[in-house]
Structures are given as C-alpha cells and as structure tokens.
Amino acid sequence: MTTVDNVVADRRPEAAGAVRARPSLAARIAARTGGGAMQIFLILIALFWLMPSVGLLLSSLRSPQQIAESGWWQVFSKPAQITWDNYSQLLSNDKVMGSLLTTAAITVPATVLVVVIGSLAGYAFAWMDFPGRDGWFMVVVGLLVVPVQVALIPVAKLFGAVGLFETTAGVILFHTAFGLPFAVFLLRNFFAEIPRELLEAARLDGAGELRLFTRVVMPLGGPAIASLGIFQFLWVWNDMLVALIFADSGSPPITVALQQEVRQFGNNIDVLAPGAFVSMVVPLIVFFAFQRQFVSGVMAGAVK
C-alpha cells in the first residue's frame, strides 16, 4: 500500500493540494489495487496457517499403507483414498475412549472448583473487610506467575504421603490450585465493579453474605465467570505435564495416552492422527462457541 500511495503522489506532483483536499480518492485507489495484492498475500498466509492441521486431518483419513507410501496431499488427486476406518478403529478402542472419559472427569471438576472457590475468594477480596485484606490479595497476585514446575516435586511427595498420587482427585486439586491466582485476580477485579447500591439494597432487604453472593454477585459476574471457566477448561483439557506426573497411569487422560504413542512416531500415524483430532474436537467446539469469552479471558490472562 505504501508504494501505491507513493505512486499516486508521484504522478501528480502539481496536484498535491488536490490530494490533500480529497484524501478519500488516494485511499480508495490504495484500497482497490494495493488491497488486492495484500488480500492475496493474506490468503496465502491463511492457507499456510491451515496447512499443518489439514495435513493431519487428511492423514487421519487415509489407510496405514497409504500414509506410509505417500503424502497426504495425494488425497487431492485421489479423493477415493478417504476412509473412516482409522476413526472407527479408534472409537472401538477402549483405551482411547476411556482416556477421553478420564480427561472429562478431570476437566469438569477442575473447572467448576476454580470457578466456585475463586468466586468466593474474589467476592471476599472485593467486598468484605477483614484484617490484612490487601496483603493477602497481593500474595495471590504474586502467585500469578509461579510456574507449575516449582510444585511438581513437592506436590508429588505430598500427594504420595496422603494417597493422592496417581489419582484423578490429585490432578483436579493441582489444576484447581494453579488456576486460583488468576481466578481470584480476575473475579475480584470484576466483582469490584458491581455498583455498591445494588449490594446495599440487597443487604437492606435482609440478605446475608451467602445470599448476596449467590443471588447478586454470581449472576452479575456471569461474563467474567464464563471467561474464566472457558480459559480453565481449555487449560486443563489440554494439559499434558501435570497429568503425566500425577494422573493414574492405568487410565490416563487422552494427552498422556497419545504421548505414549508418540514415542514410536512413524508407523502409527493412523492411530496418532485421528487420536489427536478426537482430542481436539472438544476444545475446538468450546473455542468456536465461546470465542468472545475466550478472547477476553486470554486478554485478562496476559502476563500470567
């Protein structure tokens, strides 16, 4: 676009005044011509960005022999190669299906717990008065950036001592704890924006703290809670590291189950490719259904 602007300016040196008077013309020309080249450029980028996922998707739709012999792009010239066999194999594979259930059994409670516990604390920090409130809140904010790696060894020992090591409950608690600093931070800031009059009116009507929390604060906090919930859901669903260490290796979540397959990468793409896609289905549905909430969660989570 720069060049087009320059060309327009160069061609009419005497008409500089005219350009100044009617900037819309230059802008229109730029949008017409330069915009075309730029659109093509952007289309190429978009295709480039899609290509890796499309490659895996098409690979998942080919037979093991075809995967071994030739590239997924052969599908474009031989569409007859497409087969659902890999998927039907996968869906009848008890281990994979079980691991998806484990993933759900970890993700849902870990999300609900973070939302509930985070809301309680966020409300207390926003609207209650108690000694050392700001100090405690600073501690929570400080914990925002603590890497999970710091906790792996100590929590493994702790869980081992109390019988939570290699249990689903242990994984849930770990994810809840590490989701909390962000949850409390986000929700406290959001709850603090609730108009005081609303809360005072409810209080005058005789509502206690619990009632105030469930009937006024939680409903009003909907958008922030949705962002947090989606963020946490995707985070836990996609986690591999925590599950690798703390999950029950007998019935691991899908990420760990697939990770075990990756070690022999090459001759098992017919399992890995559809497996990866099955593991992506839920996050992608959540992503497309709740884009806005996800984006605002991501933005609030920047510098986490």
Partner: protein, 452 residues
C-alpha cells in the same frame, strides 16, 4: 468506575490501616465470614503453591538422596553439567526468538487485517491453534517435519524448490568398475590414474547404476579419435544376463548420458565436458592433453532428501516454528484489540499530511501500541520459559538432548531416567527466580491501582 467512591468508615474494631483505603467494604462483615469465604482458596494455594515453593528452595540445597546438605552445589552443577548447559542455551534462544517472532507476526497480521472485510475469518484461522493442546500441535508438526519428502510437507516443498533450481544427480550411487583406471579421489569424485592423450580415446566404465536411471538410455558408442580433441565414452559396463567383457563396450551396454567430466591438471580444472546421448564426450586437446580426467561427485550424489528438520542442528528452530504457529494468534488478537483503541483521526491526519503507510505504521501505530507490545512480549516470555510439551513431543528421541530445555531437564531430573530431586528442585527455583521481575511489576501495578 465505582472505585472512586469515598470510602466509608468501617465499623470493624480492628485497627487495620489498609481498611481506610478499602473503599468498598460493606458494613457488617464479620472477619470469620470472610475467613470462610477465603478458606478453600487459601488452603489450596498454601498447600499446593506456597508450600511447594518453600520446599523446593529447601530441597534444592540437598543432594540426590535428600540426606546430604550440598549448599548451592546443585546450582553450580546446573551451570557445569553439559546437558543442562544445552538446556540453558536453548532456553535463551527460545526466550529471545519465539516471543519476538510471534509478536512481530501478530503485529503485521493485526495491522494488515484491520481494513480487510474477511479479517475476522483470517484472525480465527491464525488464532485457532491456541485452543488445541501442545500435544496435538506437536503431533501435527511431527508430521510436517517428517524427514521423508513423501510424507512431511516441509521437506516435500523444500525438495520441490531444490530440484527446480538444481539438477538432480544423473546417476546416484554409480562407481567405476574395479581395475578400470579410475580411483576415488575424495569427496565422492573419481579420477583416472593415468593422464589422457589426444590419440587414444579414454573410455570410463561405471557400474552400480540403478536400472531405473538407464531404462531409456541408448546403447553406448565407442568414441573415435578426433583431431584436436580428447575423446572417450562413459558407459555402464554391464550386460544384462551376463556375457559382457569387463572394460569393453559390448553390444548392448548402455550409455551414461549427461555426466560431467573434468580435465584436471595440477589440481585445477582446465576443461570440462558433458557426455552425449551415446555416452561419448570430447575435450579440447590443447587444454586437456596430459591432464587426468575426473568424474565429480555431483554425478553420483544421492537424491536430495531435504532438510533434516528434527536433526540435532535444526531441532530447536523447528520447534520454535511450531510454537510461533500456535502463539502468533495470541499476539495478533491482543494487538488488534490495542489497535482498535488507536484514534483513527491521528492516522488520517498523518496520511493527509503526506505520510506513507510505512511511516504511519512506524511513527504512529507502533509507538501507540508500545504498551500492548510489551505486555504481549512479556507474557510470551514467561510462557516460553516453561516450554515443555512441544519439545517433548516434536523432538524425536535421537535429538531430544539437542532440543533440551530447562523444564524438560527438570522433568527428566525429577521423574525421568536420571533421578536427582535436588538438581530438579534447583532448576525449579531457577525458573521461579527468572519470573520474579514480572511478579514485582504485577504487584506494583496492583498497588498503584489500589491508590487511586
């Protein structure tokens, strides 16, 4: 915002000074009620986040068994152990390259898509990888980077480009027949043992040519002596079904066309030729007389197989590429949000004053976006510091050591093959130390907001 309301004096008896700044505490909250609301969060944070920090610091001062106190010994080992030094070096590369490239691409995409009608669709495509797990992304890129050009799209494209610009070797793997007067001369080339003379054709018999490479070749013709030329034939000295005589051009033996032949005198190439369809060649005698003939290695190089993306040399840049694929969308979305807040009139005014788009971008857009860019960069740096899944999945076992990063080393030290919890704890504490500046900035920002 409601924050600016004047704080009411609380009827709490406790003499807490922060309370005076706490502008919105409701009247009548008893501390025990607050404690009940806070208890679950503080318990979990205390047991699973704060206690582990303390324990890790403590544990990092002891040896692998946990009995012997070694002081800062583990930290010393961190910087002397070769494997961990590789990890440190790679982490530095990661922290410098990955956030910068992601942010730069995010900025470019955000600015370019701003005025495009289908900008939202573009953003969705680039942002989507953020929703999937690093494991899935790792599997995706394991396939992209597959060494085999028949499978990995990366090498398929690369080989395609390479073969477009460089002719593939005509006869990979071919070599001279033993006792034919041709000897290996280093680097895959072959040179004659004796010098050539114009009068007598120098025939060069080769064997070990793949049948596919000579399927359509013509029969070899014996070169005739020609005045002023050094001549000869290069052919496949092999008769199908047997019966051929060694070093003699028999009836059905195939010509090797398109081979490059160099005449070498005292180490320098004085003339060169390429064999014709019938395998013959001719070199100018005035230059080449008395030279030795060389068949350069380019004739016999194995077919170009592309880049070894996941080999020890390129594995880290390759994995960083997959990270950028995942996270450029994050940068783009945040920067686009910042861009929406840039006043249109400012940009228009600059354009009207004759500033080109590049100048507008460079002098106005980027400076106005600087705070957002810093947030994006810092967020990505923290994220990259802890990178684990992608490296663990994308790097094949053979180059895992070359791709090592701190979080991976921590995992291996603590839960993998080389169990040393002291060392693992030291790495964990080191990672924590690296994010402390960001923690400090966060706290300062909060305190400032509190003072409003």
């Amino acid at each position: 915002m409601s924050d600016v309301q004047v704080s009411k004096v609380s009827n709490q008896p406790s003499g807490n000074t922060t309370r005076n700044k706490g502008r919105k505490s409701l009247m009548g909250t008893r501390p025990w009620v607050a404690a009940v609301f806070l208890l679950p969060a503080l318990l979990l944070l205390g047991a699973l986040v704060v206690y582990p920090i303390v324990f890790s610091v403590y544990r990092s001062l002891f040896d692998a068994s946990g009995d012997g106190f070694v002081g800062l010994g583990n930290y010393g080992e961190m910087f002397s152990d070769e494997g961990i030094r590789t990890a440190l070096k790679n982490n530095i590369i990661w922290v410098v390259v990955a956030p910068t490239v992601s942010t730069a691409l995010g900025l470019i995409f955000a600015v370019l898509t701003e005025r495009i009608r289908w900008g939202t669709a573009f953003k969705l495509i680039v942002f989507m990888p953020m929703a999937i797990s690093m494991l899935a992304a790792g599997i995706i890129f394991r396939l992209v980077y597959d060494q085999n050009p028949e499978r990995g799209v990366g090498n398929a494209v690369w080989v395609g480009i390479h073969d477009t610009f460089a002719d593939p070797a005509p006869f990979p793997g071919a070599k001279p027949r033993p006792n034919s007067g041709l000897r290996p001369s280093g680097g895959g080339a072959f040179t004659t043992t004796s010098a050539v003379r114009a009068a007598s054709p120098a025939n060069l018999p080769l064997v070990a040519v793949a049948p596919d490479d000579v399927r359509n070749a013509k029969p070899a013709a014996a070169a005739q002596p020609r005045p002023g030329k050094i001549t000869g034939t290069v052919w496949l000295d092999f008769t199908r079904g047997g019966g051929g005589r060694p070093n003699v051009i028999d009836g059905n033996e195939k010509a090797l066309a398109g081979l490059r032949i160099e005449a070498v005198k005292g180490g320098t190439v004085v003339a060169s030729a390429t064999t014709a369809g019938d395998g013959t060649y001719a070199l100018p005698a005035d230059k080449a007389d008395g030279a030795r003939l060389r068949l350069p290695a380019a004739n016999f190089a194995e077919a170009y197989n592309g880049v070894d993306w996941l080999g020890p040399a390129l594995v880290t840049p390759a994995i960083i590429g997959s990270y950028v694929w995942m996270w450029a969308g994050f940068a783009m979305v945040l920067i686009a949000a910042g861009l929406a807040g840039v006043p249109r009139e400012l940009l228009e005014a600059a354009r009207v004053d004759g500033a080109g788009e590049w100048q507008v971008f460079r002098r106005i857009t980027v400076p106005l976006l600087a705070p957002v860019l810093v947030v994006v960069l810092v967020t990505l740096m923290i994220n990259v510091l802890k990178i684990f899944d992608l490296v663990y999945i994308v790097a094949p076992g053979s180059s895992l050591r070359s791709a090592n990063v701190l979080a991976l080393q921590l995992f291996q030290s603590s839960f993998g093959t080389d169990v040393d919890e002291g060392l693992g704890s030291a790495i964990a504490v080191f990672l924590l130390l690296l994010v402390l500046p960001v923690m400090y900035v966060n706290l300062r920002r909060i305190r400032k907001e509190r003072r409003r």
